[in-house]
Subunit: 429 residues, 2 copies
């Protein structure tokens, strides 16, 4: 362990690491482990989809409706049926809309700000709206909350989901706490999957705000690396839990096919309680006549149903598994005797969460950039980009081909070691 | 003219019209002249577009970018170039977003409500927001204003556009008047095209509200029935006019390919001054990573450029001209000796505006429905659905095949005559 080294040994080690790092820089790499993008090989899996809607006959929905023309606000029945698979819900509670679940979430919160819900004051009329943010978390969630002027409150993400003791205590007496971000399965970036107990506590907890909302971003609900878990082991459905707890309007569920078919050209959808759905559709009906039904048809014909989705995701998993296993192996091999570091070994999703020794994350990301490896910015996994321990780094291993990922991880590991060694030396001066 | 008939003659006429109407009802028709939808024959024109993006090679943008993956917030450069044709602007001022220009307008107004602009208070924080609505106008524009709680003020639409004396007087001293809906070319439903003088006055008029916005919905900018007018005769560009008037932020331009390729599966876009664009993109960047670039590619490859768009729209016009000419001929032949009615003869767009004798519009639409012909609801062309004269009816002749349109117009004309004759008789009792 570096921390246990005599200072002279640490100095020698640092000098060697500086040389290694210099050699890496000299290679002039240009590699990227920053964003959770599918690899080109994964995108190829969905190419047949694009040929499924090409003549006037193939533009007809099951009902015979011509999908090339106006109409159908909340999605074709067959598209709702498909997206219900991703949302773990019934088609009747699904709205299919556009290509981005992020936009659906943004719009849902904008409506709560501007119009309020169920007789409660619009949030834009309140002095303050507070929002719970499990950390480490998803930077684009935090960006939405920041854009809407919410005061973000970090809550630790444990192995079972958000620290529910903390959450319960924050929501109980403070009416200005209006909601929480949740990625219940294979959370971004840690890969954490919420326990049943966590889901039940979220559904049943006493909230001062009657318009408290759980934004249930099930972005990775079918993104298993090791086969779909049995029905019993899936994340407990927040909808059923909220219904049982007699808090039926507390949740809004979101999902998309961005990492199933094509990011930016997939289907996004939400599911909610009937009362929330009515409200959402009423507002949506002012904003649009309907979403892209041709793209809905493409997806329905290509993915078909739960079985089709599972088979397709298994093909993704075959491409992704070696990448995640490489990350786990490299980090274990290279860092287990360094100390001070820890990382997640997710069973699905798109990220690995890496915790560097305190005060090292920014330096590591900077060093990696110098050596031609782009990482997600340090701090990105925290509200306002401020990680108080300067420790967490999100590793996104999906985009680069395996040999590039291998090179990028070599650089990353070297940067972790060097930053940590320098830090230790500084602290002894 | 009906109004000149002796009462006994009017009674005989009414009895005959009742019999005609009864015979029409007995035919059990089911025809629709309600919404501005393209006919299936028009949709067929764009089918080749759907086959233009089918393999990984064809998913590459001009830059080489893989359009199947995340990225590009405001549109591919080539998509901006294409949509600039519809927006009569330069690509640098264009944002391509989603499939619905209605949504782009709604979102733009939502942002002004929630965030404000340029240091002005968010509109949601004001006691009142007033909005100018040229009448007759587009019901979905009015629905947006109503949803956002704006108080709508009708302004007469003259042959040259909105009554500018009225507009200028309304905006001069009242800071709560925040904007105006404009469909500058082939307005919905009258087909009116704004004169250069109207455009200049909109751009230069003195507004009490520094955040006054002209929502320039150029929905029918290329939808000519009789060939594209020469460059000189196009509607004057509101952007250039506002720039010259030193009111560069006053306008937001919108267009889509909904009635060019596929409604609901087309491209929507906006153009604005650089300061407004920066603001819009900043907000958009919180809501999405980017829109459907595969659909952008499809459109670019199919429509290509201004010449391609003009040729494609000429093909639409060949289908639409006989329908609009049938409407004009039928109304002229059947109603010129009835009196009390007037209607527009548009040179483009999707609608004919029909003014029935005062107090007759609702009855006409009801009678037509009884006889199996669905019209746009009476009053729909006015804010809150309230036409004070109960006179205006929007005729949408594009969707039905020619022979159905012919039948539907026979019914409509009969209903106009009967409603008018009944009304005259009632007034004499």
């Amino acid at each position: 362990m570096y921390a246990d080294l005599e200072t002279s040994a640490l100095e020698a080690l640092t000098a060697r690491l500086e040389r290694d790092f210099g050699a890496m820089k000299a290679r002039g790499l240009s590699l990227n482990m920053a964003r959770g993008k599918p690899a080109a090989e994964q995108l190829d899996l969905s190419m047949p989809m694009l040929s499924s809607v090409v003549d006037s006959a193939s533009c007809a929905a099951e009902s015979g409706l011509d999908c090339r023309n106006y109409g159908v606000l909340d999605g074709l029945p067959e598209a709702k049926r498909l997206m219900a698979v991703f949302l773990d819900d019934i088609p009747e509670r699904v709205v299919v809309g556009g290509t981005s679940s992020l936009t659906l979430m943004y719009d849902a919160l904008v409506r709560l700000c501007l119009f309020g819900t169920d007789g409660c004051a619009p949030w834009s009329s309140l002095d303050q709206v507070k929002w719970l943010c499990p950390v480490p978390g998803y930077d684009r969630h935090f960006a939405i909350a920041e854009a809407l002027g919410f005061q973000m409150i970090p809550v630790a993400l444990t192995d079972e989901g958000p620290d529910m003791d903390a959450v319960e205590s924050l929501v109980r007496d403070d009416e200005s706490v209006k909601g929480i971000w949740c990625v219940p399965q294979y959370a971004n970036p840690s890969g954490t999957t919420y326990s049943d107990d966590t889901v039940r506590r979220l559904a049943t907890m006493e909230c001062a705000a009657s318009d408290f909302r759980i934004i249930w971003d099930n972005a990775y609900g079918v993104h298993h690396l090791y086969g779909e878990p049995g029905r019993q082991s899936r994340v407990l459905d927040i909808g059923k839990a909220c219904d049982q707890a007699k808090n039926p309007r507390r949740y809004l569920k979101f999902a998309s096919t961005s990492k199933v078919t094509f990011p930016g050209a997939g289907l996004a959808a939400l599911a909610a309680a009937p009362e929330n759905l009515d409200e959402i559709k009423r507002h949506m009906g002012a904003a649009t006549i309907g979403y892209d039904k041709l793209n809905q048809l493409r997806h329905v014909r290509f993915l078909e149903d739960a079985r089709g989705v599972a088979e397709h995701m298994a093909r993704h998993a075959r491409i992704l598994r070696p990448k995640f296993e490489l990350v786990a192996r490299k980090l274990e091999e290279s860092l287990s005797d360094v100390g001070g570091c820890s990382w997640s070994t997710p069973q699905g999703g798109y990220f690995v969460s890496f915790d560097a020794p305190e005060g090292c994350a920014s330096r590591i990301v900077e060093l990696a950039a110098e050596a031609g490896v782009t990482m997600t910015g340090a701090g990105a996994t925290w509200p306002y980009g401020r990680d108080p321990r300067d420790s967490n780094i999100r590793i996104a291993p999906t985009l680069p081909p395996l040999h590039e990922l291998d090179e990028a991880l070599d650089v990353f590991v070297c940067c972790v070691k060097l930053a940590y060694a320098r830090k230790l030396l500084e602290s002894r001066r």
